[in-house]
Amino acid sequence: MSGGVALLIRLGLAHLTARPRQTLIAVAGVAVGVGFFLAVSAMMMGSQNDLVRTLVDSAPHIVVRDEASGATAQPAERRFSGAAVEVRGVGARDEVRGLRDWSAMLADARALPGVTAAPALVGAVTARFAGRTEALALTGIDPRVEDRIVNHNEKLTGGVIADLEGAPDGIIVSVQVAERLGARLGDTLAISSSAGVAQRARILALVTNTNARAGAERAAYAHLRTTQMLFARPNIVNQLRVKLADPNAAPDVAAALETRWGYQWESWQERSRDLMASLAIHNIVTYAVTSALLLVASFGVYNLISTNVTEKRRDIAILRATGFSESDMAGMFLVEGVSLGVLGSLLGFALGYGLMQALAAAPVSIQGEDHRIPLDRVLLEYAIAGGASVLAATLAAYLPARRAARLDPVQILRGAS
């Protein structure tokens, strides 16, 4: 078979160049499939990654709250596990609000590699300004560490999180809440908590809230110690906020800490489980649609090669008579399929690149604000699109190629003379 493949490639390519228009149409079909596959998947993956990045960056990777993760098991239930145990007259024990042993947990979490952790106290407060009232979900944070746990600053105007350090009377509220109160940056709000403590707080910065979740605009931030005083619970913390170097490790780290300390350590994946599930479905739909594009392209390839086999019956007969084998015949037409796939992929790469450039340049207006379409451009997508289309074209060529191999030269010769 020395030089045999080169010869088959030459024969196959000769068939393609002999019918330039039909070949061009089949190549264009593959190119459009590949190009749109690239553009659509870049867009889908881009918006998805953007969403996940927002999820990951705008909140701690793991949060532990002071709700216990289930009713405490009775000693009798633990002794007879699996048996039906009835214990009567069980009274719920009043747990002290706040995380027990939080400083030990914090130290333990911080000891893990790549972990940043900070305590927080979260509670509901009311803010009053100029006779208007708004309910806020106030988070008391450690301003020195908070920056490293959640990336707030790019959404802040007028100040940064670290400004809360050394400003015990400072508060950060959302733009929406400030608007509803009629307050501006630097105005002083009257804050009162459920514990009956009231305090004045100056607006240090405003958060631009982009979270679609209802009520998200009620989030407000103050210094941890200020918050503890507001709730009259000095040295109490009801949340630990954890950030990891690798966000994907969150479920494992959360599970490890949960076994050691009890409480519910909630990873960001768990928190957004519904969203992650819908993203998975989203992915399936994306790939189904884009694969359909490649499938349609392979119909064009099938059609062209099938026609070529029929038109080249005489060539097949003489080549077989001359001493070319059945597999040579199949190879000749498979070469055509592979060539169409490769050529179509290369053109498709160019088309996809062009589409992505156009999409990246196109401004999209959302509520009067200009946004860019987030695109995820990775070489892997090119490899997938190219590989899949070459494979599809080869499979599409396989059926006619097999038919070519099975043609009986004698029948063609009889018919031709």
Binding site: S2, A321, T322, G323, F324, E326, D328, L413
Partner: protein, 234 residues
């Protein structure tokens, strides 16, 4: 026995039809190296079918065919294909040149498939073969730029590409005018005289038959006569 090709009791029956049809019945003959055999007979008498059997394009239902002393009925399809490539050349009534390739490339194809020579040597040999058939100035032309006679001579050059000992022709002059027919017949005769090839040529054409050493006549799938050409006795 040093016959180039020999058949004994060869038959071919088409079983696919409702009633089996005998294409070839009990054909036995032998052709020596350097012999030019014409097979004559009315159309439908089975001469082409016999030729396909001799060229290993079809398998006999009965009997055996020896090529250079080797029995062929037990060979695998792959082995038969290899034998066609190296030992057998075909010329048909229709030229069957590949339209996308030049005369030279058409002649080069079987050599490229065999892969015994390198590219330069293949093209040199193809040019030589074409020149020996009077086509020296047409090597770069595609088949559609050649006349019918020229095409048929390119087809003969292609059949000779791998230097086969056996040349099988099916009505090689069937589509040609007198002048071209004579040129083709002269070329075939020269191949036998000067190069010692064996030619078996199915034909209607009396000019071809007149040039042959031997004439085998067929009717109704059988050989009914096998005679030396008196005018060509060696």
């Amino acid at each position: 026995m040093n016959a180039r090709i020999e058949t004994r009791g060869v038959g071919r029956t088409l079983e696919e039809a409702a009633k089996p049809v005998a294409l070839v019945r009990d054909v036995s003959f032998a052709a020596a190296p350097g012999e030019f055999v014409a097979i004559l007979g009315p159309s439908g008498c089975g001469k082409s079918s016999l030729l396909y059997l001799l060229g290993l394009l079809d398998r006999p239902s009965a009997g055996e065919i020896w090529i250079d002393g080797q029995p062929t009925s037990r060979l695998s399809r792959k082995q038969q294909t290899a034998m066609r490539l190296k030992q057998i050349g075909f010329v048909f009534q229709f030229h069957f040149l590949l339209p996308e390739f030049s005369a030279l490339e058409n002649v080069a194809l079987p050599m490229r498939r065999l892969g015994r020579l390198n590219g330069v040597a293949i093209e040199a040999r193809a040019a030589l073969l074409l020149a020996s058939l009077g086509l020296g100035e047409h090597t770069t032309k595609r088949p559609d730029k050649l006349s019918g006679g020229e095409r048929q001579r390119v087809a003969i050059a292609r059949a000779l590409a791998n230097d086969p000992a056996l040349l099988l022709c099916d009505e090689p002059t069937g589509n040609l005018d007198t002048a071209n027919s004579e040129m083709v017949v002269a070329a075939l005769k020269r191949l036998v005289r000067e190069e010692g090839r064996t030619i078996i040529c199915v034909t209607h054409d009396e000019r071809v038959a007149a040039g042959a050493d031997r004439r085998i006549r067929m009717r109704d799938a059988r050989i009914i006569g096998d005679e030396r050409n008196p005018g060509r006795m060696v």
